[in-house]
């Protein structure tokens, strides 16, 4: 791609030829060109008319000739010697006028609107609008519409940017949303019975720059300025969409996608978006537990670790007893590494077991190529990598269960982390129980945790930092958002202490140890910006 030089507000900037001017402006100068209908992931509409700039060109002698009218920066492609001024009097006046037009029929109901705090109208009004309106007529009212199972449309607030319509036509392919009628009375609508119900439906809520399209799951739940965000990776499937976890006071309120052009572009599916209910379910294992005289007692992590160490001390090589450690595809790469390291340090013949991977029937691919993976585990490839590195005795989970059923394995450590309770059916639990020592680290209470000798309260992905390797072999780091029930207790700590390492669990040190074997480095630079208005 050839490079061109564009002068923006007096500053010379280099950019690839043919890129949209609005993107080049955003990346290079601090002055913001506000917009609504433009979105880098969708086709150009140029209908909101807000992104006006004054443009022209410079000839060989440096003489600048500007076009007499304002131009929309979203529809212009950069060319060599282009001159752009974003904050001239004409363009500022134009923006004021557009903002005035956009607000004349707007209900201005910020106090009851979910979007307040992250609203395009609020932000651009404040920065580019005017404080008074000359409108003294009656406003147009529109009904609210339930346009999808989880998508609610507040018609009054809509500014007709048509991002949502373009999304359903270009990205998800369903074509459900459309513009009804024309002119002043136009509304967004769906054909009755054909709502926005596919697995990408939640993205239209992200796209909507105002509080018109809302997520029923988040409706009225939380003010956005109370939310803190953690950059994370979705643990729903092996695609590994980059997301942010928005939480407050230890409760997750919503997940939103982050832009990553190589993984998920600007989108995420609703399975992941709405699939975090289990994090706050009552069935979460909140404390570590230790079995004494057939009963399970809550225990501190130190006590649980000591009990576990004591029980596993019978499985050193000299004893000849077989020890199996399940490496879970739901766990982070660092945990998998520590689990395997500890297991083989304890007994170099310890069997490493492939945790079960649950698959849906098929991948689901949408029009523009977004694919939801059928593999519902975020880190199977991490598990494969660890197993490959360590080599030695290995078996599948079903084989483990059968072997335990035949009393061949006496010590078993199961790492779970699946978001549903009965991932290990009762018959399998009973077979595993044949072992003398059964230690479980899991997130949801189940027969497995009830029959174990020691239970470690595992952390879900949002409660810890770590990395997952996705189905494109990209190692993606994620940050902790909320705390575990017992602050600081997670699988990294458990394995760190089991391995007898001193001090608090050091994630960076583990990552360093891992970096020698990983085929891709896993640095903070991989993270990209959040989807914004």
């Amino acid at each position: 791609m050839s490079k061109v030089t564009v002068t923006i507000n007096g500053q010379d900037v280099e950019a690839e030829a043919g890129r949209q001017l609005i993107d080049v402006i955003k990346e290079n100068v601090k002055e913001e060109v506000p917009h609504y209908c433009y979105h880098p992931g969708l086709s150009v509409a140029a209908s909101c008319r807000l992104c006006a700039v004054e443009a022209g060109s410079k000839d060989a002698d440096g003489n600048v000739k500007m076009f007499p009218k304002v131009m929309m920066s979203c529809q212009m492609k950069v060319t060599d010697n282009m001159v752009v001024n974003t904050h001239t009097d004409k363009s500022k006046q134009h923006r004021k006028e557009i903002m005035e037009f956009l607000l004349i029929n707007h209900p201005l109901d910020c106090p009851v609107c979910d979007q307040a705090g992250e609203c395009g109208l609020q932000d651009h009004s404040y920065n580019h609008g005017q404080s008074e309106s000359r409108f003294r007529e009656d406003k147009i009212k529109q009904p609210k519409k339930q346009v999808g199972e989880k998508v609610l449309l507040y018609g009054d607030r809509c500014i007709m940017c048509t991002r949502c319509v373009r999304f359903t036509r270009e990205i998800s392919g369903g074509g459900e949303l459309y513009v009804h009628e024309r002119g002043n009375g136009s509304e967004i609508d769906v054909f009755p019975g054909f709502g926005v119900n596919d697995k990408l439906a939640g993205n239209v809520v992200d796209l909507c720059p105002v509080g018109a399209l809302l997520d029923n799951e988040f409706l009225f739940k939380q003010r956005v300025w109370e939310l803190k965000s953690a950059d994370s990776v979705c643990a729903g499937c092996s695609k590994g969409c980059n997301i942010t976890v928005d939480y407050n006071k230890g409760v997750i309120y919503r997940l939103k996608p982050r832009h990553n052009p190589e993984v998920n572009d600007y989108w995420m599916c609703d399975e992941g978006r709405h699939g975090f209910k289990y994090v706050h379910a009552d069935e979460r294992i909140k404390r570590c537990q230790v079995r004494r005289d057939s009963a399970m007692y809550d225990s501190s992590i130190e006590n649980a670790v000591d009990s576990a160490k004591e029980m596993f001390s019978e499985f050193t090589p000299e004893t000849g007893r077989k020890l199996a450690v399940v490496i879970s595809p739901m766990a982070s790469l660092e945990e998998q590494w520590l689990a395997a390291s500890w297991a083989r340090e304890l007994n170099e013949q310890a069997i490493l077991v492939r945790g079960p991977v649950f698959n849906a029937e098929n991948d689901e691919t949408f029009k523009a190529g977004f694919t939801i993976s059928k593999e519902k585990a975020p880190n199977r490839r991490g598990m494969e990598l660890i197993l490959e590195t360590f080599g030695g005795d290995q078996m599948t989970f079903t084989d483990l269960v059968e072997a335990a059923g035949r009393n061949e394995i006496e010590g078993i450590f199961v790492q779970g982390g699946y978001p549903w309770q009965n991932w290990c059916p009762d018959e399998m639990v009973e077979k595993l129980r044949n072992a003398k020592v059964l230690i479980v680290s899991d997130i949801l209470d189940s027969k497995l945790s009830q029959r174990a000798d020691v239970v470690f309260a595992s952390a879900v992905w949002a409660e810890k930092s770590g990395s997952f390797i996705n189905d494109q072999n990209m190692c993606q780091p994620f940050e902790q958002g909320i705390e575990t029930f017992e602050v600081g207790v997670n699988d990294l700590t458990v394995f760190w202490q089991l391995a007898g390492r001193v001090g608090p669990a050091d994630l960076e040190l583990v990552r360093e140890e891992l970096s020698e074997i990983k085929n891709q480095s896993c640095s903070k630079e991989q993270q990209a910006d959040t989807v914004g208005a």
Partner: protein, 172 residues
């Protein structure tokens, strides 16, 4: 308005009786040959349905969506944009009174009043017996005949309200 939530999730049930008859379908398919895309024939198909049934129902939209290989939302997107297609059932006869400038300054308001007095219908209203709907239209391209009306498909220059009266009687 703003306090109502309209439910769009429940649709009308599919009907076994097809709106687009086999004969209509054949006509539509003959049109496909004239254009590179199937959607291009949509305006023509919608005219066919509108003329026959005086409305375009949910069932019609579903069938047209399938014939033209687009989503029902896209059919509605096109349909709702144009003045000549109606989701509500219109009367057997459409009295299209032009209300644009030339006809306005030449007395179209008297014609509207005549229709109101005679048939008791206002703009976009239909008589109880379903015989007439009054449609105010924007410039119908007959300004030299102002005030002009389209009675169904026929253009008329109205010289007096009595003439309109007779025309309505003759059409009924």
């Amino acid at each position: 308005m703003a306090w109502q939530i309209v439910d769009r999730l429940k649709g009308t049930p599919d009907s076994a009786d097809k709106v687009v008859t086999d004969e209509m379908r054949q006509k539509i398919e003959a049109e496909f040959a004239k254009y590179p895309t199937k959607q291009a024939v949509l305006l023509t198909s919608l005219h066919m349905v509108q003329n026959k049934y005086k409305q375009i129902s949910d069932q019609a939209i579903r069938e047209l969506a399938e014939i033209h290989e687009i989503s029902p939302g896209e059919v509605l997107d096109t349909l709702s944009f144009y003045d000549m297609y109606s989701r509500e059932k219109l009367g057997k006869n459409l009295i299209g009174v032009c209300v644009s400038l030339s006809c306005d300054i030449c007395g179209c308001k008297d014609l509207m009043k005549k229709v109101k007095d005679k048939l008791n219908i206002g703009p976009r209203e239909t008589t109880e017996d379903g015989k007439f709907t009054l449609i105010p239209m924007e410039c119908i391209g007959a300004c030299e005949m102002a005030p002009a009306i389209l009675m169904n498909e026929d253009l008329h220059k109205i010289e007096s309200v009595e003439q309109l009266d007779d025309l309505i009687d003759k059409t009924a």
